[in-house]
């Protein structure tokens, strides 16, 4: 049987506020345990939550960026369950009337585009951390993270492969950073994914039984976990079994998912509106103000790059995968609009590879966009070859000669020989010295031509402009 994969994602993005969602304690990462937990975070008797306006603001920005509805009023609800790292015995979250409802993003798979719909995005507080090591049969509780503002972003089950799921997660990851509401740091848990995965016979419009895979904190794990889970479910069904609805945990070491809890032992969370918090009324003025404060969004820029610079949809998508990269590209492309494709190639090729190797972000790229443009100009005007440009780039990266492109070309002797008379002289010499190849070529051996080109290049240590050498040889041999 042919199976169709159905995936929906729940993503928890930690909002980049200074303080917690319901208290004034800091959310800075890495502090000593329990030093960033105030009386409210500790859930002492009598304490009350007060909503952080900054968290609401970020949620609204997100909603606007995906074209969603901003609900007003929006309601906070209590999700009741007992766990030692949940100090109040309930998590303040949203149930009915989340702050953001609907919206969509589009993902790029190769050259084709696909729209993924969002169900909702709601505000909630994070729990603390339970530490099960180093306590001799007991557990330690660190409540620094308790109360950290999260935006839980829920998609519709619109994805049909792990590739699409990863593309969607990456788009959201880029978006939340782009609009400055989340730092996107996956190692520190600022951006976490849960995947709902099911399979169904191709052609069926009924959803299969799903499993939720929790806490996938890298795109690679997300992909591996989905692939494993899909295979597991298909195998089960093909063996005549049934998929059991459950929550599963991905074991990164073994590359497999395993049961965490089944539907039967799922909690009844007894959601109800939190009486300590009033319904959140959001004035339309505020929404408009936030709409105006949003930067040009990635999809708008992507469209612009395609229409203004003639880039392919794929290139435009890659360049808009982060605001920093897009800004870099744009700074370069604005100076040489007709060479925008070359700029794109440099950024997506040499620069990205080098950044990756050094584990750096483009914002810290030692070769600025203006310098890159100078380099591209020198290639375009024939001063240096594309190959030599890579040598120049390396020098620029290392900061040699004050990053003066021309000085580097000069000092390394990389200038191409583009003088026609000089090239003619060289060609003549080579033709005289290689009478056999000339004869071969004239007898129809095309290969001999390339050998002659090679001889000219060799004589100039590769500095002759290859296009001119080609033209000159053709002229002399015809």
């Amino acid at each position: 049987m042919q199976w169709e994969i159905v995936i929906g994602l729940e993503i928890h993005a930690q909002l980049s506020t200074q303080s917690k969602i319901f208290s004034g304690a800091s959310i800075a990462y890495g502090a000593m345990p329990n030093t960033q937990a105030c009386v409210v975070d500790l859930a002492l008797p009598g304490v009350l939550p007060v909503l952080n306006r900054g968290a609401v603001e970020r949620a609204i920005k997100f909603g606007l960026a995906i074209g969603a509805t901003i609900n007003s009023p929006s309601i906070f609800a209590r999700k009741n369950y007992f766990y030692p790292d949940l100090p109040k015995g309930y998590q303040i979250s949203q149930y009915e009337l989340p702050i953001v409802e609907g919206g969509e993003v589009s993902i790029q798979i190769g050259e084709s585009e696909k729209t993924i719909r969002l169900t909702r995005a709601h505000l909630e507080e994070d729990a603390g951390k339970s530490l099960h090591e180093d306590f001799h049969g007991m557990s330690g509780i660190d409540l620094n993270r308790a109360g950290t503002p999260l935006l839980e972003i829920v998609s519709e089950p619109d994805m049909r492969s792990s590739t699409e799921a990863v593309a969607y997660a990456k788009i959201l990851h880029a978006l939340v950073r782009w609009i400055g509401i989340c730092d996107g740091n996956m190692q520190e848990g600022s951006f976490r994914c849960d995947a709902n995965v099911s399979v169904r016979p191709r052609g069926s419009d009924k959803l299969g039984t799903r499993c939720e895979i929790k806490n996938l904190n890298s795109f690679r794990f997300l992909e591996k976990a989905i692939d494993f889970e899909v295979e597991r479910q298909i195998e089960l069904l093909e063996d005549g079994g049934m998929v059991r609805q459950e929550t599963r945990l991905f074991d990164a070491n073994k590359g497999e998912t395993r049961t965490m809890r089944t539907k039967e032992d799922a909690n009844d969370y007894r959601y109800f509106p939190d009486p300590d918090l009033l319904p959140v009324e959001i004035e339309s003025d505020w929404i408009e103000q936030l709409r105006e404060s949003l930067p040009e969004l990635p999809h708008a820029r992507r469209e612009r790059y395609i229409s203004n610079y003639g880039l392919s949809a794929y290139d435009a998508s890659v360049l808009t995968s982060s605001r920093e990269m897009a800004d870099y590209f744009e700074a370069a492309a604005e100076q040489v609009p007709e060479q925008a494709k070359l700029c794109a190639n440099w950024i997506m090729g040499e620069i990205s590879a080098r950044l990756k190797k050094e584990d750096m972000d483009i914002i810290d790229c030692p070769v600025g966009s203006t310098i890159l443009v100078t380099l591209i100009k020198r290639v375009h005007d024939g001063t240096i070859s594309g190959k030599a440009a890579k040598t120049v780039f390396e020098s620029l990266w290392l900061g040699e000669l004050k990053q003066d492109v021309d000085a580097i070309i000069e000092s390394k002797g990389l200038k191409q020989i583009s003088d026609d008379s000089a090239i003619e002289k060289l060609v003549d010499e080579v033709l005289v010295a290689n009478a056999q190849q000339v004869a071969d070529y004239r007898n129809g051996k095309e290969k001999a031509f390339n050998a002659l080109v090679g001889q000219v290049m060799k004589a100039t240590k590769g500095k002759a402009n290859p296009a001119q050498v080609n033209a000159m040889l053709k002229k002399k041999l015809s």
């Binding site: 008797p45 304490v47 030692p84 015995g89 309930y90 109800f272």
Partner: protein, 483 residues
Amino acid sequence: MFNESLKQLSKRLAKKEISSVELTTEFLERIKKFNPEFNAFITIDEEKTLTQAKQADQKIASGDTGPLTGIPVAQKDIFCAKGWLTTCGSKMLSNFVSPYDAGVIERFDQAGAVNMGKTNMDEFAMGSSNETSFYGPVRNPWDVAAVPGGSSGGSACAVAARMVPAATGTDTGGSIRQPAALCGISGIKPTYGTVSRYGMIAFASSLDQGGPMAKSVEDLAILLNVMTGFDQRDSTSLQREKEDYARDLEKPLSGLRIGLPKEYFAKGMSSDVEKAVEQALDQYRKLGAETVEVTLPNSPLSIPVYYVLAPAEASSNLSRFDGVRYGYRTQIYQDLGDMYRKTRAEGFGVEVKRRILIGTYVLSHGYYDAYYIKAQKLRRLIAQDFKHAFSQCDVIMGPTAPTVAFDLGEKSSDPIQMYLSDIYTSAASLAGLPGMSIPIGFGDKNRPVGLHIIGNYFAEARMLNIAHQYQMATDWHQRMPGI
């Protein structure tokens, strides 16, 4: 001196006839004398109290005085007070010393009041007789066989027995008004959102409201001036301009329209209470008021609605008492689940557990719509009834409680009978309206009867005026138990 008003005491302090330390010592002596019998206090800490009295004396010496500077005030043990054991009447918090002050405590401290100790209460404010306290029942100073009412029974008793000039209480369904009535004192629960709930241990967040308890209405106005005000740490606290609750005390009552809900006077009220209420209403007519019949058709539903919503919120509010971070934790346990179960089974009393179970049930999947949602709808209807009634009258009056104080143990095994003690008070709580009780005489066994006055939102000053005029014409509020 212990029967004097706050104004009189304040005048003595200002004139330096007496120091706050002397005044405080005098009341501490009364506490020492009467508390063993009445059990009104859970915590008395002379050292802390006298330190505050000394500070108050310094303030007075420097001329920095207000109406409460140097005045002893007892605090219900539901208010977190820094450095004080704060138990909420529960074994669960029997070892909890608060590291922070409630908004109300801060306000009294800033006003220079002297904290006389923490008063006894029903466990987590759940009860109408003070019998659910882990620290034992409080006795009614008018008759030791009787309960003082609850949940603010310790505060009511302490004021009635003149162990303190004033005290704080909290009211979720009648917990200030009902004990005030049963102990023959005055008490007011202001409009929801008027007194900060920050640091006031939550029972049912959408209903809980702090308020003062005192001998007279004039004292209530002075206390209310200190207790109320916006607190940004409480999201349900209302941002309103500061008002002087004593401003209208002396206004005459001519033209006052008193609404009498026919449902309150239909049945359920005992005849001694009815008689006292009729006499009080006669007094009001003499003062120039007229009475009109109004109807609150949904008010008979207020007890069932209250006992869905309050336990629902309580079941969640009390989840934090899990033995993990503070408070009581069981001694021996196998694992986490065992620790939770034993801690909560041992740390909570019967009534608290009953309400947690009710609340958990009504919020459960499949029952939520039938109970919680329906109760919320009825709550709105109850509030609408009042809105309609207030188009026909200025205030609503009736009995505070259906009977005078009952005997200890009389209702403790029958929760429904106990819940019905709040039959007249819970509707105003559900509507968020201000309500108060003032003493209007005595019923069976010479136990006090209270008159319940419900006002429109933010009508506290008018209500205090109406109650004060009654007290100017009568002396019930000056009667003292013969102890």
